[in-house]
């Protein structure tokens, strides 16, 4: 992995934090805009989940990962702690890859 990613991501992340906190300050964003911005995690996290479960590079794939995802969804829905959800998802997939 290249250091460029680490450096640019760090600069960019700090720039965003500072933009809201120091530069824009207490000026108010339009309601509609802040409502859209707060939806970023929902859209991107869902994208990461589905993209990384059902694609392999640029083609579609259905394999052990889908079962691991299913187990993780049930665990998260049962409100288990994050680390337990991670371990269950990974362990299920690891187990299926061995057998």
């Amino acid at each position: 992995m290249s250091w460029a990613l680490v450096i640019w991501l760090s600069i960019g992340a700090y720039a965003f934090k500072m933009l809201g906190f120091v530069v824009v300050g207490s000026r108010k964003l339009p309601d509609m805009l802040s409502r859209c911005l707060m939806l970023i995690p929902a859209a991107l996290l869902a994208a990461l989940v589905f993209n990384s479960s059902f694609t392999d590079g640029q083609s579609y794939a259905l394999d052990e990962r889908a079962i691991g995802l299913g187990v993780a969804i049930i665990a998260a829905w049962r409100k288990l702690p994050l680390i337990v959800v991670v371990i269950l998802g990974a362990a299920t997939t690891a187990f299926l890859r061995v057998i």
Binding site: M1, A4, L5, V6, W8, L9, G12, A13, Y14, F16, K17, M18, G20, F21, V22, S26, R27, K28, L29, M32, S34, R35, L37, M38, L39, I40, P41, A42, A43, L44, L45, A46, A47, L48, V49, F50, N51, S52, F54, T55, G57, Q58, S59, E64, R65, G68, A72, A75, A76, P81, L82, I83, V85, V86, G89, A90, T92, T93, A94, R97
Partner: protein, 231 residues
């Protein structure tokens, strides 16, 4: 001398420490997953120290781990980092310190510090909540990452299903966002875009493009008001 906190301050500090402990365990997972995706120990640690916003760090690692470019990894990760800008807007009225102190505080404007600070009712407790959470969480986040990265270097990521470990972490992080109708629409839209575009564009780009789903937030605000009332 025995160190004692005022009764008013104690619950704030206790919950800040508990939250930071949980996040520290998550950092352990991030460290393991990051080296599994191709980062070395120092890169994983540098991300936690300088980027210091979990979801962005993980998103970048996922795209790199699946063979995406630096640009592709940056796009989605920066979009996720954008929400800290919104938190900053919400928090800045509470900070009237010097510019230097504000520039330092800005680094710690993330999900957890925002939640802890806005949960307090008076300015003094708000400040204590912010700084206690910031210091404890930053320390444990970095310590956890280091331990996880060292541990992760010793194991094979594919054999241990670490790629799905990432996915599982996203699932857990996603659930709280599904409480509102808009959140569910954005998630469904994001998921759909990311899968449909996958064969046609470079790796990483579908994640960035899924950001288009946030425009469901443009729906009339009347429905958002009823949602708030329903919660």
């Amino acid at each position: 001398m025995k160190f004692r906190l005022e009764p008013e301050v104690r619950p704030v500090v206790t919950s800040a420490l508990a939250l930071s402990g949980a996040v520290g365990v998550f950092a352990l997972a991030f460290g393991v997953l990051a080296v599994g995706a191709g980062a070395n120990v120092w890169q994983a640690c540098a991300l936690s120290f300088f980027t210091f916003t979990g979801a962005s760090q993980m998103s970048a690692m996922t795209v790199i781990g699946t063979g995406g470019s630096v640009g592709g990894a940056l796009g989605g990760a920066l979009l996720l980092a954008g929400r800290n800008g919104v938190y900053g807007l919400a928090l800045s009225p509470y900070f009237n310190e010097s510019l230097g102190k504000r520039l330092l505080a800005a680094h710690f404007v993330i999900d957890e510090t925002t939640a802890m600070m806005t949960a307090q009712t008076n300015p003094r407790l708000q400040k204590i909540a912010f700084w206690t959470t910031a210091i404890a969480l930053f320390s444990l986040w970095n310590l956890g990452t280091l331990l996880g990265a060292v541990l992760g270097s010793a194991i094979d990521p594919h054999t241990f299903g670490l790629d799905v470990g990432f996915t599982a972490a996203y699932v857990a992080m996603l659930f709280p966002h599904l409480k509102t109708v808009n959140g569910r629409f954005a998630a469904a839209g994001g998921a759909l875009i990311s899968v449909v575009l996958a064969p046609f564009v470079p790796i990483g780009l579908p994640i960035l493009a899924s950001g288009l789903a946030i425009f469901v937030g443009l729906r009339p605000s009347a429905s958002t008001a009823t949602e708030k009332a329903a919660q």
